[in-house]
Symmetry: C2
């Protein structure tokens, strides 16, 4: 107790010593070119807009939304007021009205010039206006002289033309408001594709008027009506976002078969799949009726979704029901299809022709690429830069998703480092590189609900957006984290609940509003990575996602910042305040368990986290001891060090599917106590 | 630096939130009768509902909403499933379908019996079902054995039949979502009236089809269409809430006159009023055309709003334009109206007849009561229990609003102590008491926006709701604060942003996401009370409400909790942990200024708070010195004490319209250093 009190006293002395030297702007994604000028443009009650864009109203609606948002982010009661270009605080001009249906190839560039008297935004078409307005909004904030945007000249355009987020609305149903607010988020970071994963083993999520049994029997009533889909399409178009629907086939199709078992390679009846994983049910490629059905269905959906691209999935077909079906075996022999891979190629080819007949370009996962694939199709690589590069080398357009799986719960820095044109794709020639259209983050929905989906997408998705928009050499990780923190708040103003939902989820799990000590633990744990959760227990669609792992952040910023301090200490570069800051975090963690245990024991959900809380206290104690040794400038006894290392090894294993992510940093301190 | 501030916060919190011995349930409002049984009813995936209510679907929709909310508050993916009454986890029965238009006199009682096997909710009509479901929801939370409701028998009914919240949507426009989410909040705490203040000097906020110039010229385009009003009415009805519209007259009517200057006692033209206060413009009581107009207008609104009551305001008439108008003076003489009070009585009488003609009962503020008022009218008292009691004594029904003005920024305990039947109303006989229908909190909108309105209404409004629902002897303030904290989280799950909007507003003002030190200050200041803000600077409808005062909470819970510790210390009843907790808070406050000053200086909005931040450090230093003297068991030198008291006196004055509310607690510590 005495020690704590001292700790606090000293701790407080180091408050605010880590002032940031901020020379760059808080923009994300970072523009292609930024020249900072002098002075700033005040944003006040007199803010007006001039608009010179003859389009379908997109630019004007974007400007109105921008003013509305400016009002929210400043608290100044602004209303959209148009003025002459000469007098307006923000003059917007676009040269043409843009495509009726947003095109992949469409110019998205813009130029934004801010002077102390006015801002000028010019773009070839409304897409540039939409993007440029987001940049302008990010420039305005409270400064010593008022709300203002700094004088700047920004010349900006995206590095890749395809910058998407895939939303799985099937494994767990995600209603309209989730889709809409995430489209808002995508607009804010200049993404331009929402890949809408609409059918799965676990749910068929769009109304089909031609085959109503699909959504009626395959969705538990949770699907988008066509009217809702149109609303989403309009909403996305207004925000510069194309919507690419995906109907995954021939696998991942159990939910189709509940209403239409005749499409399946094995006899029914079928039930909506409730578990997670790769399942056997698939369509029967030997059945002409399947193609007739798909012709009608794809025809209906091709009409509903205006985008030029149409995604047919194609991933993870086990082939087992094909092997078990004598008719299909016979079909393979009759058509000289050596194996199931060839059979799927046959299926893909047939589907591609149907898609093309309906004037769409087929997109599919890696598996749809086969020797005879027509060159127009687009490959979405979940396997990585190698398969991406293979597609590009063979002259297929491709987009990267591996490394952008948000559900894998990796840190932002991991996604940031994942460049479509690096690693195994680094050998592509400039001409081959052009086939790499960009990338898409993927938000698979096994372990998310409408309550926590935002926290799995944001703010990390902003980093994917930067990787796909900004020049390849924009890579500074510390800058990225600093700007991501700002962007995260921005995204909160749009209604995304990735930050605001955190403490309520902790309070729910605890059954009490007093979650301070629970938050200390939650702040330093992370969910297990990649597919580990799947292996941890028998999850189904009905399993409540209400535990600490569901509230915990994919990346612990607290642990990351502690790690930065530790790295400085270990490198002998920490100043006294930084050393003190590390010590105080450790003190806090050491003492937290006492306050937290009763909370954990009072909730059946949280009991499983008791060990972690204890471990945090022990790890912190070890860290403090290591700091003591280091402060004395000497080495620790080898026996002490070996004991601690042994202990820290045991802490590596996940508990309740959570990792204690400060432990590796403490390990670095312990390692440093070796005699120099 | 986030790490540091967390460290301080938790060190303080982990001692500050001392273990609670919780014997009562977390219900607000507290039911009339609660008998706790043994065991609990588990709430899990198998949760089902049986419904035996033949009504217009209100009970079923309420049950569906309850299941939906149960799913949110547990994280269990529940869907509404009906079952036989014998097997259902929750069996709901209501005996009749309730009134087609919810009545003041309608029975709102319910009985809720929870056993380890099932819950049974019975009520005379859907209103009791709606209320009983809210109680059931509040019972379910994470417990050591699972999500469960404790076994309990609750027999409940409201103390008063009129329990309302007045929403002013005129001074600052409040759009649909604000109204709806606040209706959700009202339902959660069993309020049953939304008093919708729809016209004011500063805005006319409802579409009139008969007189479209009212909303077209009087609202800046910010008004509710009649279709939206109907949506709100249905939304409210479904939640057991009557909607009483108010059209304030003959004063508070500037916005009417923009389109209809012919109604005014003084010649136009008129502009929408942009300032706050009491203004002169008022209707011309001598003009027959005014009554013809009001007949048509009230007829239109009486049809739109189904409730039996119709509010015509009547407050704060200056009479100046009456005095200045010779025609009105002549009218007074001709009708033997001695003064403007008599003239307003004449007007009220005429309006009352129009209201009655349209089959409504008139409600008005204190001023509408005059000797000849018909007994059916209802008086809303903004003047207090005295005028309330006067009305009741004279046989008029009355509701209390004085003491429930949420915009006055008083603590929850203040509203809690404000009983309609106490103080100057305590002399009423039981028969006279029956004329006191209840009360209404008032949310006047001069200093709120859609961004912070929730934080001005909630959670304090829950305490008003308890005062009006629960038995008179439910008065324990500590219990109230404990339950209010729980209820506050509950209200957050409904979408109210009173908690989640706090840090974003701080970040906006700071222009940085790092608001830990700013929050330390914000947590211990409160806005000035009552009408002080009005006097502080020339506010208008256009003044940005984006400063620290607009983010700061009306009541600092941090200061309150510190005050509880101080009271124990001063009484010699604090244990060592409590003493330490007080010390830690003081240490944190003392050191905070160093970190905060750069933040304050970096934002033009926050600069004005620099003095407060310094003062907090000095006040904390004084507090620590006082604690040192007290720890030593001795008195402080008189000179030291006198100096500190003199300093603390200077700190009482508001700065930037904010009060440093920990200072009075420190004063108690200083006072205690007198030799015993």
């Amino acid at each position: 107790m005495r020690l704590l009190s001292n700790a606090v006293a000293v701790l407080c002395l180091s408050f605010g010593t880590l002032a940031q030297t901020q020379t760059e702007l808080d923009l994300m994604p970072m523009p292609a070119s930024v020249q900072i000028g002098s002075g700033q443009l005040a944003v006040d009650q007199a803010f007006t807009v001039a608009l010179d864009c003859k389009d379908d109203g997109r630019a004007q609606r974007a400007a109105q939304r921008a003013v509305d948002r400016l009002s929210k982010q400043t608290g100044i009661p602004l209303t959209y007021k148009e003025a002459d270009a000469a007098q307006a605080k923000l003059a917007i001009r676009c040269e043409n009205s843009g495509e009726k249906i947003q095109k992949l190839e469409e110019d998205e560039s813009y130029k934004l010039e801010v002077t102390p008297t006015a801002a000028k935004l010019t773009a070839p078409n409304p897409l540039g206006v939409i993007h440029g307005l987001q940049t302008f909004l990010q420039l305005v904030k409270a400064r010593p002289e008022g709300f203002a945007a700094p004088a700047v000249v920004i010349d900006d355009k995206p590095r890749f033309p395809w910058r998407g987020t895939m939303l799985d609305v099937c494994r767990h149903w995600m209603p309209m408001e989730v889709v809409k607010r995430n489209i808002d988020g995508m607009e804010a970071v200049k993404m331009n594709v929402m890949h809408w994963h609409l059918s799965e083993d676990q749910g068929f999520r769009i109304e089909s008027k031609k085959f109503p049994k699909l959504h009626e029997m395959g969705s538990d009533g949770n699907y988008f009506t066509q009217a809702q889909a149109k609303e989403v399409l309009q909403y996305a178009r207004d925000r510069g976002i194309r919507v690419v629907p995906e109907f995954d086939m021939p696998g991942h199709t159990t939910a189709w078969f509940v209403g239409h078992p005749e499409l399946a390679a094995a006899p029914g009846p079928y039930q909506i799949e409730r578990k997670w994983g790769i399942f056997d049910p698939s369509m029967d490629p030997s059945n002409e009726e399947v193609y007739k059905f798909l012709d009608k269905f794809i025809g209906e959906m091709a009409e509903l979704f205006p985008d030029a691209f149409f995604h047919v999935g194609g991933d993870e077909v086990t082939g087992k029901p094909w092997d078990a079906n004598p008719k299909i075996q016979e079909f393979k022999r009759a058509h000289n299809l050596a194996d199931n891979h060839a059979l799927q190629a046959y299926f893909s080819e047939r589907v591609q022709k149907i898609v093309a007949k309906h004037k769409k370009i087929m997109v599919g996962w890696d598996e749809v690429l086969h020797p005879a694939s027509p060159k127009e199709i687009v490959i979405q690589s979940w396997r990585g830069q190698e398969s991406l590069a293979e597609a590009a080398t063979r002259g297929y357009r491709a987009i990267l998703s591996r490394g952008y799986y948000l559900d894998h719960q990796y840190p932002a820095s991991y996604h940031y480092a994942n460049d479509p044109l690096e690693n195994k794709a680094s050998g592509l020639t400039p001409d081959q590189q052009k086939f790499v259209l960009g990338g898409e983050s993927c938000m698979w929905a096994e372990y998310i609900t409408p309550m926590n989906i935002d926290s799995r997408i944001w703010p990390r998705n902003a980093v994917v957006a930067e990787r796909l928009w900004s020049p390849q050499n924009v890579k500074d990780v510390e800058s990225m984290y600093r700007r991501m923190a700002v962007t995260s708040k921005w995204l909160g103003w749009l209604g995304l609940n990735h930050e605001s939902g955190y403490e309520p989820m902790l309070a729910r799990a605890a059954g009490t509003p007093n979650v301070a000590s629970l938050k200390v633990l939650a702040d330093v744990v992370e969910p297990v990575k990649e597919y580990s959760r799947e292996q941890a227990r028998g999850y189904t669609q009905f399993t409540p996602l209400n535990r600490l792992i569901d509230a915990a952040r994919p990346e612990s910023i607290t642990a990351r910042e502690f790690g930065v301090l530790v790295d400085k200490i270990v490198a002998g570069q920490a100043n006294p305040e930084e050393k003190m800051a590390a010590r105080h975090s450790l003190l806090m963690w050491r003492e937290n368990d006492k306050a937290l245990q009763p909370v954990l024991q009072n909730s059946f959900i949280l009991k499983e986290n008791a060990q972690h809380s204890q471990a945090l206290a022990v790890v912190a104690t070890v860290g403090l001891q290591a700091l003591d040794y280091l402060d004395k400038g000497g080495a620790a006894p080898a026996m002490w060090r070996n004991d601690q290392i042994a202990y820290l090894e045991t802490v590596k294993a996940p508990k309740a599917e959570l990792l204690l992510v400060v432990a590796p940093h403490v390990r670095k301190l312990v390692d440093k106590t070796t005699a120099q």
